[in-house]
């Protein structure tokens, strides 16, 4: 899902994780499942590649890890957005939207380039 071959940018993975955790603390499996659900499995690739991304983000201080009990009372590692993570999310969201809008504008353009006329 998030590895290099999938063509997804590292930054995209991070943005998706930040967005997911903005709903509240969640474990790795929950993060992966939620992303797959909301994207309707469109980005469904190898789930394992999510974990190194989580560890890197923890190291950067965007998310923090803690132990908690899962829904079925199992010990699980939960990730939580930090203040810095929240700032990152806002920054990356607006960046992504500008990027997507620009690409969208280009591919939906009906004005032909001058050299094709």
């Amino acid at each position: 899902m998030f590895d290099k071959e999938s063509g997804l940018l590292q930054g995209t993975v991070e943005l998706l994780v930040l967005k997911t955790l903005s709903w509240g603390p969640m474990h790795g499996y929950g993060v992966a499942s939620w992303i797959e659900t909301v994207t309707s499995d469109a980005l469904r690739v190898e789930e394992g590649s999510l974990y190194p991304a989580l560890y890197r983000m923890a190291q950067k201080g965007w998310i923090s890890a803690e132990w908690g009990l899962s829904e079925n009372n199992r010990k699980a590692k939960y990730y939580r957005l930090t203040g810095e993570g929240r700032r990152q999310l806002r920054k990356q969201m607006s960046g992504w939207q500008r990027f997507a809008a620009a690409v969208d504008a280009a591919i939906t353009s009906t004005v032909a380039p001058s050299w094709s006329r």
């Binding site: 709903w23 474990h27 789930e47 974990y51 190194p52 923890a58 890890a65 590692k77």
Partner: protein, 883 residues
């Protein structure tokens, strides 16, 4: 999403943590797959496929987590450290008197160590200013019977050594320094010259900064027409001009051409000169008597690569034995040894330096013990603060760390002040330019010394902080909080710790004081032991007669007679003596051959200290002539040769008391030499003021051997006021003769002690410092004890106890520790006195006077120190205390 229930986060092993997280993921996926209708096997396979490279992810995550944890730990540590440091600084400022006292004490302790280490490093550790100095060896031919390690080499031995040896690549020999008259035209002055083989500079690996070394052919002539100058001469006499090579300098009425300049840091392995002349040993080889009879040369050799000092020394000893057999007439009893050049230069300085280093370390240990005691009191008064912090969740480890940070901060501050102090001390030492310190030693604190000092400070801080810090770590916060409200007595453990610290201080202090006392007594014995002559009211100076104008005995004798007459005519002059060397400074020694008593085949020729003296010498120096007569005007050149010998010499070689009238020959064995008749026996004179040994001496009349240029003028008043009158008189006879080495005889004798005096004075300084610090420690112990038991004393007194009983209670409690200190100190004294044994003079190793004085001084100071607290304890007012 709702908040999960939190579990305490306990960081486990990164690998296990990652493993559990991934397993959680896979198991959930399998559950989901089964729920979607797969069989368990299918579900498992699909989950793994969907996850991807489980192994790879696990490894990468473990690596990332490990790195993260490491940075986290470092960050936490730094945060804690910063916090501790801030807190330590605050608490140091909060108790300014305590901090100031601690820093001053530490500055003294650390400063003493840094200064002594600076000297030790400069003298013993810094490299000698020669290339590859580690393979240079000093070669000597000592008289075996004396057990000394000194002895110059004869020309014959040098030549034989060069042929026989296989351990060395090159050798360089030199002669001891001589005075010469440098006459730039207006004002003649005395300079020092030294003859050296051209190979000396190349053996030492000297790189000339201007010009070059001598050429081999320069060494072939009997007169030196070229000279090599040291950096100092280049700067002072030639103004440091770059084109100094080729310039002429007139020395002893002969022009010599400068060919090279030695580098600034160059020092001779022995001696010191303003001008060097090239020397070859060929002329010395021509004289059949002096070739093996005169031991004149200093010698260094450079070892071949791979040859050890031990191997070379063994070879030298073997060659020495061979030559002794081969030339028994001259070499009997003379050996040959080699020693590393550094050892030979450092010589006698090593032991005093190590003693000083040990003393400084003792002072620092006492300082540590003292501060530990002071810190202990401070932690006790801060007990409540610590108890609160522990109760609020501070770990004991954190508390201990906090306290150690405080003590290390104090120690580092003290260390910085100490380094400044040491720099001042070393600067003073440098300006004294003592002969006791080898000239290559720069006496500065370089980076290495600063690093060592920093670690000393760090170590000191940990050492004195550890005990008090641990005592806090162990105390029970609950009882502390409760007790503190009522000001209870000290715990048994702190009392023991404090007592132990005081006992340690007393023990160390006693060891140091005993050593200082012994050395002090040695110095006193040395300076007060009778020298055998009177140095009272004597002005001494040297007038060298250049060969060019005073070529023979007649001209010299005339000068001596004329100048003596003029001096005697000066007001305030009671007598005039001329000699080849002043008492206590005679270096000349000659072999002795007694008539009708030939030395046996295994009897080495004994050597006598030799001096040439004028008729009035014995009278002027107050040396008694015990038998026979002193010299008279009848003992002239051409008359039968005569000598006066010392009592020691008479007793040794004419034990039947028949010395007067007996005859002997002296110097290198020479059957053509006329016999010299003993005409008198004089009292013994100690030639080395720092040794008790009485060396046999012989005196010859200056009239028969007119080689003496040192004058001693006995005055009726202060001798130094006569200097100008003497100078004027000399100028009246010959204005071209400079008068130099002007000093009173007392100064001359005193200079001989200088090397011995400095370490003793320093040692005593350390002793005083130790005494002060320990006294403060003893005072603090009693003061704390008295304060801690104030309530108890109040109760006792309320119940009818007398003041005396209370005082004896305090004294008993403290006295036990002082007694323990004295017992430990006895062991310390035993050890330190052993270390300084070789430095003692005329005092036994366990001299009761010195050690007793140390004990008395220590107990006296301790008594003073405990007077106030004990008095205070007896003045406790039961009503105030118990309210």
């Amino acid at each position: 999403m709702k908040e999960p229930r939190k579990l305490p986060f306990i960081p486990g092993k990164p690998a296990a943590e990652v493993e559990s997280e991934l397993r959680f993921h896979l198991e959930h996926r399998i559950q989901a797959n089964i729920a979607a209708g797969m069989t368990p096997d299918e579900a498992r396979q699909a989950a793994v496929e969907r996850f991807g490279d489980v192994e790879g992810v696990r490894e990468e995550c473990a690596r990332l987590l490990t790195a993260d944890r490491r940075t986290q730990r470092r960050r936490d540590w730094l945060d804690d450290f910063r916090q501790d440091l801030r807190f330590a600084a605050r608490s140091a400022v909060g108790a300014p008197m305590f901090s100031l006292l601690a820093i001053v004490t530490l500055a003294l302790g650390i400063g003493a160590n840094a200064a002594v280490f600076g000297v030790v490093k400069s003298v013993l550790l810094n490299s000698l200013p020669y290339e590859d100095a580690g393979s240079l060896m000093r070669i000597r031919t000592p008289i075996k019977a004396l057990g000394d390690e000194v002895g110059s080499v004869s020309a014959g031995t040098l030549s034989d050594l060069r042929e026989r040896q296989r351990s060395f690549t090159t050798f360089g020999a030199w002669l001891s320094e001589r005075d010469a008259i440098y006459d730039p035209g207006d004002m003649p002055q005395i300079v020092k010259t030294q003859w050296v083989e051209p190979s000396l500079f190349s053996t030492l690996g000297v790189r000339f900064i201007v010009g070059n070394n001598f050429r081999e052919e320069d060494a072939g002539r009997d007169t030196a027409f070229v000279t090599v100058i040291p950096w100092k001469t280049w700067q002072t006499t030639f103004g440091g001009v770059p084109d100094v090579v080729g310039k002429q300098v007139r020395l002893n009425n002969i022009d010599r051409t400068v060919v090279g300049v030695l580098p600034r840091d160059f020092v001779m392995p022995e001696g010191d000169a303003d001008y060097f002349y090239p020397m070859g040993i060929a002329p010395f080889m021509r004289d059949p008597i002096s070739v093996r009879g005169s031991h004149n040369f200093g010698l260094v050799g450079r070892l071949k690569p791979g040859i050890s000092f031990e191997t070379a020394d063994r070879e030298l000893r073997a060659i020495g034995d061979e030559l002794e057999k081969l030339y028994a007439k001259d070499n009997l009893g003379i050996g040959m040894i080699g020693q590393p050049l550094r050892d030979s230069i450092v010589g006698d300085t090593r032991t005093p330096l190590i003693v000083l280093l040990a003393s400084a370390a003792l002072v620092l240990l006492i300082t540590c013990a003292n501060l530990a005691g002071a810190l202990l009191s401070r932690t006790i008064s801060r007990r409540k603060e610590f108890a609160v912090r522990v109760a609020l969740g501070a770990g004991r480890g954190r508390l201990v760390r906090q306290l150690l940070t405080e003590s290390v901060l104090l120690a580092v501050a003290g260390g910085i002040a100490g380094v400044l102090l040491a720099m001042v001390l070393l600067g003073t030492l440098r300006s004294l330019s003592l002969e006791a310190i080898p000239r290559y030693a720069d006496l500065s604190l370089d980076t290495g010394a600063l690093i060592v000092t920093f670690f000393i400070a760090l170590f000191t801080g940990l050492l004195f902080g550890l005990g008090p810090a641990l005592s806090v770590g162990k105390s029970d916060p609950q009882s502390s909080l409760r007790d503190e409200a009522r000001g209870s007595t000290e715990s048994v453990r702190t009392r023991r710790l404090r007592g132990g610290l005081v006992a340690g201080q007393i023990a160390l202090c006693l060891s140091l004081l005993a050593a200082a006392g012994l050395l002090g007594r040695s110095l006193w014995e040395m300076t007060h032991a009778p020298l055998g002559f009177s140095s009272d009211r004597l002005l001494t100076f040297t007038v060298q007669l250049p060969n060019a104008r005073y070529p023979n005995g007649t001209t010299r004798g005339n000068f001596h007679a004329q100048f003596t007459e003029q001096l005697k005519a000066l007001p305030g002059v009671a007598g005039v003596a001329i000699t080849s060397a002043l008492p206590t400074t005679i270096a000349n020694r000659n072999g002795l051959f007694v008539e009708n008593r030939p030395w046996g085949p295994n009897e080495p020729v004994p050597f006598m200290v030799t001096s040439r003296v004028s008729d009035d010498y014995f009278a002027v120096f107050g040396i008694p002539v015990k038998q026979g007569r002193a010299f008279s005007s009848a003992d002239i050149a051409g008359a039968p040769p005569v000598a006066v010998i010392s009592q020691e010499m008479a007793d040794r070689y004419w034990p039947n008391g028949d010395a007067v009238g007996s005859r002997f020959r002296w110097g290198p064995p020479n059957p053509d030499q006329p016999w010299t008749t003993v005409v008198g026996v004089a009292g013994n004179v100690r030639n080395s003021p720092t040794a008790l040994r009485q060396e046999p001496m012989m005196f010859f009349p200056l009239r028969q051997q007119p080689f003496g240029d040192t004058f001693a003028v006995k005055t009726s008043g202060d001798p130094s006021v006569l200097t100008n009158a003497v100078r004027t008189a000399l100028r009246g006879i010959d204005p071209g003769l400079p008068m130099y080495r002007v000093a009173t005889m007392e100064n001359v004798v005193d200079r001989g002690f200088a090397a011995r005096r400095l370490p003793v004075l320093l040692m005593m300084g350390f002793g005083v410092l130790a005494l002060l610090v320990s006294s403060v420690g003893i005072y603090a112990m009693f003061a704390n004890m008295a304060t801690a038991r104030e309530r108890e004393f109040g109760v006792r007194m309320a119940l009818g106890s007398s003041r005396g009983a209370v005082a004896s209670l305090v004294l008993q409690q403290g006295g036990v520790w002082m007694a323990l200190g004295l017992i430990l100190g006895a062991a310390g004294v035993f050890t330190t006195t052993r270390l300084i044994r070789s430095q003692l003079f005329g005092v036994g190793e366990l001299d009761l006077l010195a050690i007793g004085a140390a004990v008395v001084v220590l107990l006296g100071c301790a008594g003073l120190a405990l007077l106030v607290p004990v008095r205070k304890a007896t003045r406790v007012d039961p009503i105030t205390v118990l309210r």
